[in-house]
């Protein structure tokens, strides 16, 4: 079992940036009025943001990071570590974190790394960056997490396009000897790699003329092989069993009392799945904030985006006991528990 307790690191700040352009579910061309209403009541997605073709994930994360550095009053030369988590990088190579080092004007001596994960990405990125910082030699780090996940979705695929939204986030961590740190459980099941996949465009299948051929799988589900396939039923089955299990394993392993937790921040997959998970764990609804109504499923960005849009004031002004759980593409999942104390939480940025 992959359990890890990382001491001596605290959450210093969180910021998020979303594109200005809004897509309303009620106006999605692939839905009748009745279908749009049913979709909203089951997934919870009323609207979401879409980045225009000139805006990448790194642009959104850059805006969030700039604002956070300024709100934290951090000096750029203090930042020792930069981790960028995305599945929609600027280029196939080089790693986008290298470009971000330059664009953020961070020192040459910064440790920069890209991680390719989606729904579980904030949890994994957090585990990596807190591990680096807990040694006490690197003092401050930025975890930039996000996706422009609508870019690889087919507008003619009602199983993906109305569900997802674009967002970029920044999370600031710092070495601190007085805090209890972060407790993690993480797990992976690669047998489910096809549950969420872009089949072509990598080096397994390559890119051919046939990759661009639009295929209609059923009415309202039309896409090519360079676009995202989502097997909603398999992901649902996975989510409702593994997310609650991960939280139970973590809390049992570390003797964490679920009732003492102030907020449970779940990856915003879809409302129907998230509510099944919440009810399975018997968590009261007021402890489970949702950003999915206004921003959709923003892939790796959902957890920090939910902090900024839903619980900004409480975590900025008080101390809280938080559990966060991410689960999805990979299949990959993980849970973290940590305490916060007056976290700097920037206003949501629109770009």
């Amino acid at each position: 079992m992959a359990f890890l307790h990382i001491p001596d690191v605290r959450l210093a700040g969180v910021a998020a940036c979303v594109p200005k352009a809004i897509l309303e579910t009620s106006r999605y061309a692939g839905f009748s009025k009745d279908e749009a209403e049913k979709f909203i009541s089951s997934t919870g997605v009323e609207r979401r943001r879409i980045a225009d073709e000139n805006i990448t994930t790194s642009d959104l994360c850059l805006k969030a990071a700039e604002k956070l550095i300024s709100d934290l009053n951090w000096s750029r030369d203090e930042i020792d570590c930069l981790i960028f988590v995305t599945q929609t990088p600027d280029y196939i190579l080089p790693a986008t974190s290298c470009l971000l080092q330059d664009r953020l004007k961070l020192k040459e001596g910064v440790f920069a790394l890209d991680i390719s994960l989606g729904c579980s990405g904030w949890i994994y990125g957090l585990q990596v960056i807190t591990s680096m910082l807990s040694h006490g030699q690197l003092k401050k780090g930025l975890l930039l997490v996000g996706d422009t996940i609508l870019k690889p979705c087919s507008p003619g695929d009602k199983s993906t396009y109305p569900l997802f939204g674009d967002a970029g986030t920044a999370t600031a961590l710092e070495y601190n000897r007085t805090v209890s740190g972060f407790k993690f459980h993480t797990a992976t099941d690669g047998t489910g790699f096809e549950a969420i996949i872009i089949p072509d465009g990598g080096y397994r299948n390559g890119t051919h003329l046939s990759s661009f051929e639009m295929i209609e799988f059923e009415p309202g589900i039309k896409r090519n092989r360079l676009q995202t396939v989502l097997d909603g039923m398999s992901v649902f089955s996975f989510g409702i069993s593994k997310a609650p299990e991960s939280i139970r394993l973590l809390t049992e392993n570390y003797g964490i009392d679920l009732e003492q937790v102030d907020y449970f921040l779940f990856h915003q997959a879809n409302l129907f799945m998230n509510e099944k998970i919440r009810k399975k764990l018997k968590i009261p609804s007021e402890k489970v904030p949702y950003s999915i109504k206004n921003y959709g499923n923003t892939s790796s960005a959902t957890i920090p985006l939910t902090i900024v849009t839903e619980i900004k004031d409480v975590i900025a002004n008080s101390s809280k006991n938080l559990v966060a759980c991410g689960f999805g593409v990979g299949l990959s999942w993980g849970t973290v528990q940590f305490f916060t104390d007056r976290v700097i939480c920037s206003d949501l940025i629109e770009y």
């Binding site: 549950a195 039923m233 649902f236 089955s237 129907f272 799945m273 399975k280």
Partner: protein, 75 residues
């Protein structure tokens, strides 16, 4: 696991459908009230009542209520 009990559980999932129409040989996709949300509710029922993880392919390959029963039974 009993087929009869399984059908009762399924009837709870199909709240809108007439209970008499659910027979072992019924094609579940043709039942009144079937939707993609009902498919997810069948997966949730299999998880809650039988601790079985159904995959998308399990649902796609099944045609009748008895097919579903057999798939859950085999896991």
């Amino acid at each position: 696991m009993e087929l009869k009990k399984f059908i009762t559980n399924l009837e709870d999932v199909f709240e809108d459908a007439d209970p008499i129409t659910i027979k072992p040989e019924s094609s579940f996709r043709d039942l009144e009230g079937y939707s993609s949300l009902v498919a997810l509710s069948i997966i949730a029922m299999a998880d809650e009542m039988y601790n079985v993880k159904l995959k998308g392919d399990d649902i796609r390959k099944a045609n009748t209520i008895e097919d579903l029963f057999n798939i859950i039974n085999s896991k």
